[in-house]
Amino acid sequence: MTLFQGIALTFLGILLLWEVYWFLRGWVLRGPWVVRCLVWVGAACAIAFPEVAQDLALALGITRGADLILYVFALGFLGVSFYFYSRFVRLQRQLTEMVRHVAIREARQGGTP
């Protein structure tokens, strides 16, 4: 095991333990929790067994395992960006409705010039 593998796997192990801790305390949303755990486990596997990523890349017609990881990151980034943008838009609409509600409730009538 290389030094990098040691550091990265330790870090990912702590993250996984952290997730388990919050899960046991019951303070997690199950969907996002599963996704996060899969990401940590997937990253750990790719670091611990680089040949797995290489084999998978070859099976998918991609020459290098590093390229496969890069593509996965690029797709993941796009997906996460869209997810957060849609969350932002929804939140903005809700905020606007609230601002609108207050504005209409507190309408004032001006006087003559």
């Binding site: 849609s86 606007t96 207050v102 209409i104 009538q109």
Partner: protein, 232 residues
Amino acid sequence: MDANLSNGRDDVWVVVAAYNEGRRLGDTLEALCPYCPNVVVVDDGSADDTAEAALRHPVWVLRHVINCGQGAALQTGIDFALGRGAEVIVTFDGDGQHDPAEIAHVVEPVRSGAAEVALGSRFLGHAVGMPRMRWLVLKLGVLFTRVFSRIRVTDTHNGFRALSRQAALKIRVTHNRMAHASEILDQVRAQRLPFVEVPVTIRYTQATVAKGQSSWNSLKIVTELLLGRIIR
């Protein structure tokens, strides 16, 4: 046709969205109020005295506690006007670019039932002092709208328009910022609302050009619209 709508026509409401217009709004309202008794000014979270300037005139003043954008402000004004029983709603810019004497012309097709929506067009009417770059950007906007929204209009980003009550109830502006004008056209087409274009006059001044949208903003509008198609 009587240009002054105050003669018994109190179901026409004019919605003015204003952001940091304290210096110009007074003149706009002074010119506007004689033509329409029902004016609602939506101060979109201005940092200046826009609301106070509006309150010196016989208008309703609504205030967004934070800046949400012109589209959001117009929808707020439209909701308020609908709640007050408006039968025709006119949207009007607060910076003095529009001529209040033309309100009657814009309202007439909606009032007569010829259309549910009347869209002001500076290219059918007059655009006084329009910079060339603005002309080019607006023409590209027209082209984009014809392709993207599949609606044949000559002016896509004109804030001077009239909506019947039915149209106002059907159209819901969700794009808070400048893309709302294109969104309204999108919804006019999607809801199959009968519309007409009415020639109007837009007067550009140095101040309105400086405060108006930059040409780069048009790219932002296009991006917002495209993303809006993907993300609901």
